[in-house]
């Protein structure tokens, strides 16, 4: 049985921890709101972009851009891993890194060379520990305020590297924000660009094809060639947004759980504390009564 003093200190400590987790929960909530707003602001652009790109891709030839053509011989694979910089968000980062690592190991076993680009410190640390080659790292972006230019600069580098044949395939690992309670790690190939489907249009196929009557300037192929690198930036930006939002949601949940766990712990500890206090009072009383009896004796 712990002494009274010890239990008291412990209760104090847990209460302080609770204050911290609660504050972190609130911070995450407000950051989450910001991140979601950013996602909302991005949606109109992304939708319109996908619409135009999808219909352009239908019209243009396969050879419109080298970004569309799979390499005959794949030697080197580039993985862009998006994680958070900070911890205390449950299994968020470990899910992402495990997925990336598993993927990289599989590819290594097939004799592909794997290189990493890291967004976020957690992923970088894991890659370092596992001894993967890191091409570049970008810290202080995920979960913070960042603009589209971050994605376009990094995206451009990626596209250039691909065109210079530094690597033959590019994948991105990020966390998809499904809902407040669910964030799933996703792996997606971004280069060479997979055949683009004009997704939602399928249902309305009877209508005239979207771009049927458009005049394109320059030619469709050139337009597509101009848009495809942007498509990579858009994907990268959206992955970063999703990961940021997921991080805050994951942290919110984790901190909420931690706060609840603190409450539980305080309750159990208080019970133990009261019991110990009672026990000592009883013991004291017994002593006094015993002493009094002895004096009467």
């Amino acid at each position: 049985m712990a002494t009274l003093k010890e239990v008291e200190i412990k209760i104090g400590a847990v209460k302080k921890t609770k204050q911290i987790t609660k504050a972190m929960n609130m911070v995450a909530t407000s950051k989450l709101r910001g991140a979601q707003q950013k996602m909302d602001a991005f949606r109109p652009y992304a939708l319109k972009f996908a619409e135009v790109l999808g219909s352009l891709a239908e019209k243009a030839g396969e050879e419109a851009s080298p970004l569309l053509i799979p390499r005959e011989e794949v030697k080197k694979i580039h993985v862009i891993l998006c994680t958070s910089d900070k911890g205390l968000c449950g299994g968020f980062n470990s899910h992402l890194t495990s997925m990336a690592e598993k993927f990289a190991k599989e590819k290594s076993e097939q004799n592909f060379e794997v290189v990493f680009t890291n967004f976020g410190k957690k992923g970088r640390d894991r890659c370092r520990r596992s001894g993967f080659q890191i091409l570049s790292e970008h810290l202080g972006i995920v979960g913070a305020k960042f603009g589209f230019n971050i994605a376009s600069v990094a995206g451009q580098k990626t596209v250039d590297g691909f065109l210079d044949e530094e690597y033959d395939e590019v994948y991105i690992v990020y966390s998809e924000f499904v809902s407040m309670a669910r964030q799933t790690p996703v792996i997606q190939q971004i280069l060479p660009i997979q055949p683009i489907e004009s997704g939602e249009k399928k249902a309305e196929e009877e209508e005239t094809p979207y771009l049927a009557e458009h005049i394109c300037e320059p030619s469709t192929d050139e337009l597509l060639g101009d848009m495809l690198p942007r498509h990579v930036y858009v994907q990268l930006y959206s992955a970063l947004l999703e990961t940021s939002t997921s991080e805050h949601a994951a942290r919110m949940t984790a901190m909420n759980n931690a706060t609840k766990a603190c409450d539980d712990m305080v309750e159990t500890l208080s019970l133990a504390y009261n019991k110990a206090r009672q026990a000592s009072i009883t013991a004291d009383l017994m002593d006094i009564v015993g002493g009094a009896e002895a004096l009467k004796g």
């Binding site: 135009v52 771009l211 337009l223």
Partner: protein
């Protein structure tokens, strides 16, 4: 044809303009083009520059854009740009600072500088400044 055409300027970060206009003039990569209501469907890439449009009340307005593309439909022009700024939102002081920064970066001969990026930034800033100083609205 009389009537107004809808102009939407969208960037990945925000919707910058959503307004009716009498005419929209935009810098296409093969030359500047104007759009009135009833325009043939048209898709083009844009270059760095300014979109000029006359709002429904006849006021001329300008929006700075860096590269992107535009789609014209009979009743609507959609511009997707990587960045866009209304003329009145351009902060001249900030632009001047950006120009200075970019010039310094280009002038310093450090090896770790991305020249292309600095040059592009300089070009953007100069365009902004020009737009801000030569026009109103």
């Amino acid at each position: 044809m009389a009537g107004n055409i809808r102009l939407e300027v969208v960037t990945p970060e925000a919707s910058v303009v959503s307004e009716d206009a009498q005419i929209v003039v935009a810098p296409g990569s093969l030359g500047e083009f104007g759009v009135l209501i009833g325009h043939t469907p048209f898709l083009t890439t844009l270059k760095l520059g300014a979109i000029r449009y006359k709002a429904a009340d006849g006021v001329e307005k300008y929006v700075f854009i860096s590269s992107g593309f535009a789609e014209a439909l009979p009743d609507k022009v959609t511009v997707l740009a990587e960045s866009a700024e209304r003329r009145r939102d351009i902060d001249v002081e900030r632009v001047k600072q950006a120009i200075k920064r970019a010039q310094e970066r280009l002038a310093s001969k450090k090896p770790d500088i991305n020249y292309e990026r600095a040059r592009a930034a300089l070009a953007r800033s100069l365009h902004r400044l020009k737009l801000a100083e030569t026009t109103r609205g």
